[in-house]
């Protein structure tokens, strides 16, 4: 229980759909079994269509997200344009990193956090190729909600982002508050 990865808890998931991607996180911040906050988002935006979801030790989420914000801001000032690599420009694209920087390019979905096992199970059974934005929203939401209900260290609501070519939709899922 005292592994840094499971002190604060949390869950993130991302999925690919047809001409869209989705990314979602839970909202819990805990200290072992005690819930300290039920409004602690774990997804950060770095451009019009660039999102980063982080799980693990809460202090490192803040440190890493703040450092990336600084670096992206410096990039934007230096280059006088938004950070929009070719890969991000048109292609719906998701990838994951583990804590030592090993990159995981996935064609279907990425999961992370203390509810990893549950999320893999839900994603394996619910996800299918070429989901339209609304269907992708339903799929990722059901996957995340079902997964965090089986993890004591995650849950207490969720944010879901649906990223399309021309727009981003953010929705709050209330979820179980117990």
């Amino acid at each position: 229980m005292s592994s840094p990865f499971s002190i604060n808890g949390g869950a993130c998931v991302a999925m690919v759909g047809k001409d869209c991607v989705a990314i979602a996180c839970d909202l819990r911040l805990g200290l072992q079994a005690l819930t300290v906050s039920n409004n602690f988002p774990k997804i950060f935006q770095y451009g019009d269509n660039v999102f980063l979801g982080l799980t693990g030790l809460a202090t490192d989420l803040s440190t890493v997200s703040d450092l990336f914000r600084y670096k992206v801001n410096m990039y934007r000032l230096r280059e006088e344009r938004n950070i929009a690599p070719k890969t991000f420009a048109n292609l719906p694209f998701i990838c994951g990193f583990d804590s030592i920087g090993c990159i995981d390019f996935a064609a279907d979905f990425i999961v992370s956090g203390t509810a990893t096992d549950q999320l893999y199970g839900m994603c394996e059974s619910l996800w299918e190729p070429n989901l339209a934005p609304e269907d992708l929203f339903e799929t990722i939401s059901q996957a995340l909600m079902s997964a965090v209900d089986r993890d004591a260290l995650s849950g207490w609501g969720a944010y879901v982002y649906i990223i399309e070519k021309d727009k981003v939709t953010k929705r709050l899922l209330k979820g179980r508050q117990d």
């Binding site: 911040l29 602690f40 809460a58 202090t59």
Partner: protein, 203 residues
């Protein structure tokens, strides 16, 4: 067994800290003030390893005051909270990290919005409507979950705080010698008279 409590309301933030300064099983002082004022409308309460606490708090206090003098403007509670987190986070990965838990309460000088920040020794930062540190979390958070409302007045806030402190007196195995209570409002920080001699009967 140190107690730190914070409650926000409509136009104030209440901060309370236990008065006992302990070393092992001994109470060295029964009138300890575990708070430091950072600027006109920001107050920080701290608990943790003896020595680290006051050293870190006064380092933050000095830097907040230096900023106010240099720029003739105070940092907002949010800015201060993130500054404190940065200092604590870099200390965490140093040879000798500070072992300090903090509550930072304030009222924004421009918007007059009250705020409360919870920071633990790992430098995890969470903005909260009400917060506690130490064993007090296990007794008080559930009381606050049930009775807190973001729109409460200062009087209601003090009542709610009394409810929490009564429960701590009833359930904590050691005497924490009462509480220092301070309120941050748009007009600054005021000491709140708090009756420490009230006896709470156990079941």
């Amino acid at each position: 067994m140190e107690v730190l409590l914070g409650i926000t309301g409509r136009d104030f933030t209440l901060i309370a800290a236990s008065k006992a300064a302990m070393r092992g099983a001994t109470i060295l002082k029964a009138s300890d003030d575990k708070t430091r004022q950072l600027n006109k409308h920001t107050l920080m309460a701290f608990m943790g390893e003896a020595g680290d606490t006051v050293q870190f708090a006064e380092y933050i206090q000095a830097n907040a005051q230096l900023y106010s003098m240099r720029n003739e403007t105070d940092l907002s509670p949010s800015a201060l909270a993130h500054f404190v987190r940065g200092e604590l986070a870099s200390s965490l990965r140093s040879r000798k990290p500070y072992n300090v838990n903090l509550l930072l309460g304030g009222v924004d000088p421009i918007t007059h919005k009250p705020s409360l920040y919870w920071l633990d020794y790992l430098a995890a930062l969470a903005p909260l409507p009400y917060a506690a540190h130490g064993y007090a979390q296990y007794y008080c958070l559930s009381i606050l979950d049930k009775h807190h409302h973001p729109d409460i007045s200062l009087e209601q806030g003090i009542k709610l705080l009394t409810l929490c402190i009564d429960e701590l007196k009833r359930r904590l195995p050691v005497d924490f010698k009462g509480m220092v209570v301070k309120a941050v409002t748009k007009d600054g920080i005021v000491d709140i008279e708090f009756d420490d001699d009230k006896v709470v009967k156990s079941a």
